[in-house]
Amino acid sequence: MKNLIRTVAFVLLLASCSNDDNLELVAFDNPEVSLNIPSDFPELNSAVYNNLPTQYGIELGEKLFFDNKLSADNTISCSTCHIQKNAFSDHNKKAIGIENRIGLRNVPPIQNMAFMQFYNWDGSKLKLEDQPLVPIITHEEMDSSILEVIGKIEDDEDYIELFYKAFGDEEITPDRIYNSIAQYEYTLISSNSKYDKVKRGEGETFTEEEAQGYAVFKEKCISCHSTELFTDQSFRNIGFPLNSNSEEAGRSRVTGDIKDYMSFRVPSLRNIEYTAPYGSFGQFATLKDLLDYLSNGVLEADNLDPILKDNDNRISLTDEEKNNLISFLKTLSDKEFIGQ
């Protein structure tokens, strides 16, 4: 009944505007927003084509992303853990959610999601639209449920209007929530780092150190951290210190395959300067720590990646190489993306 009154009111509202032709157009128009696809980026995930971002879909998704109402006690939003100035990650070792509960893993950045074929450290989700329900219901994250969320927003005038504008009627459904959040995330594209500008010939050049770091990178890192996203999106065990939580099995908790035990999706290295600590549960405080570890030798495992196994379980690096690598990695920082 309430809905009906609301709909009638809305129609009346629109009707009352209809003297003004322009306004009427605005009210019903929800244009597609084309993604700014950087050159040489990998293929889009095909799910994007089924959920193409629209002006109001994005706006709604952004509002939801920043809304504490998505958590049981209205204290945690997606943006609590996915903070823009950290390239939408945070600075905790493991995620901290509702009532300071500590999760299993480190918060990954949310960037260039449209080009990823697997989500989360273990690739458990293949479509971004399937992802938002996880934090909403997870005990250590938001500890809510989708109907609880809908219950909290369905009487909010701003949401009613946005659902109407985004989807043509004001019905609030779980799928519309997931889709709009994903649409917003699709727009979070980072491609304006110094590295990009050098590559595009926009007047910037690498310093000597950065150039040498890039050379080391191409020699020792690019077999995994490849493509313009700096990940080949494969799953590998590279012998990082193990998470002792019995829930953790890496990729094998998805595939049930022992060969995937403690393998993780190769992370993108874009904006790595802003996403410390590093590793699937924040094992490394700094890039230097991580490179020291790789260079000193990693944990042995049956399924240790051959690139390490065939090289004495290490990627040996001199101090100079480490410094140069870090300089290069910092050229992947995109100030515009983190809003600075």
Binding site: N120, G123, S124, K125, L126, D130, L133, V134, I137, T138, H139, S145, I146, L147, T173, P174, L242, S244, S246, E247, E248, A249, S252, R253, V254, T255, G256, D257, I258, Y261, D302
Partner: protein, 287 residues
């Protein structure tokens, strides 16, 4: 006018009853499924680490163990007539056709199927777990089952997999009572016929009834035994539990790393191929 319609209705109802009254069978009746969770022939008593009442069992590998928590999901229930016709019981509605059997809650050990067409049934099929099409924690479609499964004392939501836990077993093993924690659930992704990744932990169980269940004037009870001896000593695997995360020595972690989950799934739910009963059997049909 209103009154006369009411009279008509009453007389119709009375007529309806009268026509049945000389021993005619109703068109449908209840069937009760009664679950008895055992170690071989002993009904399981739950208990904490030092409990003296808990039923202790020894696996084929020689490990003593007992449980403090024992839960599993039954769904997709079908009764099969003599001519092979399947009568599905709300198989696409988790609110009406799925249940969490919880050893700590007496009431959950009986599940009443209502409105089963009067007939003789020779076989029952059901799922241990939730079939993939319905296994997405769709609270909007099935709020009741979502609530039952997600209750604080039940915890059958598999959050990261956005599906249901199919079994949740907590307990202790070896004489020093190390913790065991075995959870199962599906991670399968994609559409049927073209799955893209993950494992399917749903198991379809088929059990012949030792005597026909006669639904009609009577409402039979089918007694189902779930023998958790199979968990560690099943048809598929003889499992030795270890507490380390070292899974290279062919032993199975006692906690839910999921890597070795399918061993437990095949043991209690069958491998879906040569074994379609797993730990389940029918001990009796009471007509």
């Amino acid at each position: 006018m209103k009154n006369s319609r009411r009279y008509l209705l009453i007389s119709l109802i009375v007529l309806g009853f009268m026509s049945c009254s000389d021993d005619d069978v109703p068109v449908a009746n209840n069937v009760t499924l009664e679950f008895n969770n055992t170690f071989e022939d002993n009904t399981i008593v739950l208990g904490d680490a030092t409990s003296s009442e808990a039923t202790v069992h020894t696996s084929d590998a020689g490990q003593v163990h007992h449980f403090s928590e024992l839960k599993y999901v039954i769904s997709n229930i079908r009764l099969i007539k003599e001519d092979g016709t399947e009568i599905p019981y709300n198989v696409n509605d988790l609110d009406k056709g799925a249940t969490v059997v919880d050893q700590s809650k007496e009431a959950t050990l009986q599940y009443v199927l209502s409105d089963i067409p009067s007939d003789e049934y020779v076989q029952i099929k059901f799922g241990l777990g939730v079939k993939t099409e319905l296994n997405n924690l769709d609270q909007a479609s099935f709020p009741d089952f979502y609530a039952v499964a997600g209750a604080n004392d039940t915890q059958m939501h598999w959050e990261w997999g956005t599906g249901y836990r199919f079994t949740k077993i907590e307990g202790f093993y070896d004489t020093d009572n190390k913790e065991l924690s075995i959870h199962t659930g599906s991670t399968i992704e994609g559409e049927e016929g073209s799955y893209t990744q993950g494992v399917d932990a749903y198991r379809d169980i088929t059990l012949d009834l030792p005597t026909n269940a006669i639904v009609g004037s009577g409402s039979p009870k089918i007694k189902i035994k779930a023998d958790f001896d199979y968990l560690l000593s099943g048809n598929s695997y003889t499992i030795t539990l270890v507490s380390t995360t070292d899974i290279t020595n062919n032993a199975t972690p006692s906690a839910h790393t999921a890597t070795e989950m399918m061993k437990f799934v095949d043991n209690i739910g069958g491998n879906g191929d040569t074994d379609i009963t797993g730990m389940f059997s029918i001990t009796a049909v009471e007509n």
